[in-house]
């Protein structure tokens, strides 16, 4: 049994349900402040306790799932689209085009991604949409290399030559004939990339450069957590656990997909 795939899928599907059913699952309004109930420990009414403004941590966490998942999904989608197209072009054409794209990839990989993102965020407003775009625009380089490597493996195989000889347009050859055969690294990177994007978003929000309160994000709940760490452990534990489980979930899924997609024994 492909344990990684099974457990990874279970976690991810569960997270999706939580995100979609957020209004149903949460007991309270995540924005509602109640200053008389500040920093209350976990209880039946407030399963994860309350934060420094009396808001229910559980509801905020549930809504924050939406933030994490959407940032993860959309930013990686941007990265995958850019990376796959550039990888296809680079691998297929070779020569100068390949050189230019690969040097661009090399340059981008020189920068520590996180600091690059910090730099960009310093110039633009920190909000959820900008984060998605920035993470997307900084995550494509390694995918380009993987896709290019796969393209190189198959571009001289007979079925590609046969498509060329049939007079098909290059676009058709790239997207209809070659792309389905290079999808394996794309799919795996997608899943692992979401994990990484969620971590990045949490880190940015923690630093105050990501999702701004009152919008809930696991990262920004942790921001208050650090200030009250000795008297309100629940503000650090639960968001931390949530990030951990989510990242593990997507990593397992990615690993499981890699195993599923790797060439199997011939029967």
């Amino acid at each position: 049994m492909n344990k990684q795939l099974v457990f990874g899928s279970i976690i991810v599907i569960l997270l999706c349900f939580i995100a979609i059913l957020a209004p149903v699952i949460s007991f309270h309004n995540p924005y509602e402040q109640n200053l008389s109930l500040r920093l209350k420990p976990p209880s039946l009414k407030y399963p994860f306790g309350t934060d420094e403004l009396g808001r229910d941590v559980f509801s905020r966490m549930v809504y924050a799932t939406r933030v994490s998942l959407s940032v993860g999904f959309i930013s990686i989608s941007i990265a995958v689209i850019i990376g796959t197209i550039l990888g296809l072009i680079s691998g297929y054409y070779g020569g100068t085009v390949d050189n230019i794209i690969m040097r661009l990839v090399d340059i981008m990989l020189c920068f520590p991604t996180f600091f690059l993102i910090l730099l960009v965020i310093a110039f633009v407003k920190p909000n959820i949409y900008n984060i998605m775009i920035v993470i997307g625009l900084t995550s494509w380089p390694s995918l380009t290399r993987y896709v290019r490597a796969e393209v190189l493996k198959i571009k001289n195989l007979e079925f590609v030559l046969s498509a060329k000889l049939a007079g098909f347009s290059t676009a058709r050859i790239l997207f209809v004939h070659i792309l389905p055969n290079v999808l394996a690294p794309v799919v795996v990177t997608f899943s692992l990339g979401i994990a990484s994007a969620i971590l990045t978003e949490s880190a940015l929000s923690f630093l105050g450069l990501g999702v701004q309160p009152p919008e809930p994000s696991w990262g920004n709940i942790l921001t208050s957590g650090k200030d009250y760490i000795y008297i309100a452990w629940w503000l650090s534990l639960f968001p931390g656990l949530a990030i951990f489980i989510t990242v593990v979930g997507f990593n397992l899924l990615g690993e499981g997909l890699r195993i599923y997609l790797s060439p199997k024994e011939k029967q």
Binding site: E158, L161, S162, K164, L165, G167, F168
Partner: protein, 240 residues
């Protein structure tokens, strides 16, 4: 109508040899030296020679996969570079050797055929509608005696012989005048080879195309071909 279907004139091609360390070009190895020959309509020409004598290179040049260093190739009197790639696809087609890599593993047989039949119709300016496409596909399936359910299958579900026939179908769907057969039989069992040879003869009769049949088996070439081009390792050649 031009006298010759194909004319190859003074083709030269060399490959560069690179040093392992810095990939600097250290030498040029000539593979084809001033090679010329012509091919009539509805004739089969065998290209016979050991590995490395340049037969695959020659054929890659004729099918525009590679460019020669000098010389030209004329098809029906016109230089092959003057045809657009769509037009050229209906003139010359090639059948490859390896049954495992000749079909795209991720595309169904039906899809592969449909896109080529469509391409053919678009080029000849006929109206394209699904009914016409499917009836043409059915026609092709009958010619190769393949069952209709093969359209939903993928290459890995087919045997070597079936894949060979699907590849032939794909070639036929574009109605070429010249079909290049690059060692099409070497990966097959003897009984299948016999069947394929019969089939190639039948197709030639029916569709009146010419063949360039590449092989390293002398008996095969002498049985099947009207003329044989012998290629030698040092670049010499002879036509018989």
């Amino acid at each position: 109508m031009n006298q010759f279907l194909l004319e190859v004139k003074d083709i030269n091609k060399s490959y560069s040899i690179y040093s392992t360390l810095f990939q600097i070009e250290v030498a040029k190895k000539p593979v084809l030296r001033n090679i010329s020959f012509s091919l009539e309509y509805n004739t089969s020409l065998g290209i016979l020679g050991p590995s490395g004598c340049g037969k695959t290179t020659l054929v890659k040049i004729i099918s525009k996969i590679e460019q020669p260093d000098s010389g030209e190739v004329l098809f029906e009197g016109k230089n092959i570079n003057s045809y657009t790639k769509e037009e050229f696809a209906t003139k010359i087609q090639m059948l490859f050797q390896n049954p495992y890599t000749m079909l795209n593993p991720k595309l169904s047989i039906g899809f592969l055929l449909k896109e080529r039949v469509k391409q053919n119709f678009v080029l000849t300016g006929q109206k394209v509608d699904n009914q016409i496409i499917y009836s043409r596909i059915n026609e092709l399936l009958e010619i190769t005696r393949l069952p209709k359910n093969i359209l939903n299958m993928y290459p890995h579900q087919l045997s070597g012989g079936q894949r060979q026939r699907v590849a032939i179908l794909m070639v036929l769907s574009l109605n070429p005048k010249l079909v290049i057969l690059d060692e099409p039989l070497s990966a097959l069992d003897i009984s299948l080879q016999a069947q394929m040879l019969n089939f190639f003869s039948e197709l030639k009769e029916k569709f009146k195309f010419s063949y360039l049949f590449i092989t390293h088996d002398k008996n095969l070439a002498e049985y099947f071909c009207d003329k044989i081009l012998y290629m030698y390792e040092d670049g010499r050649y002879e036509l018989q």
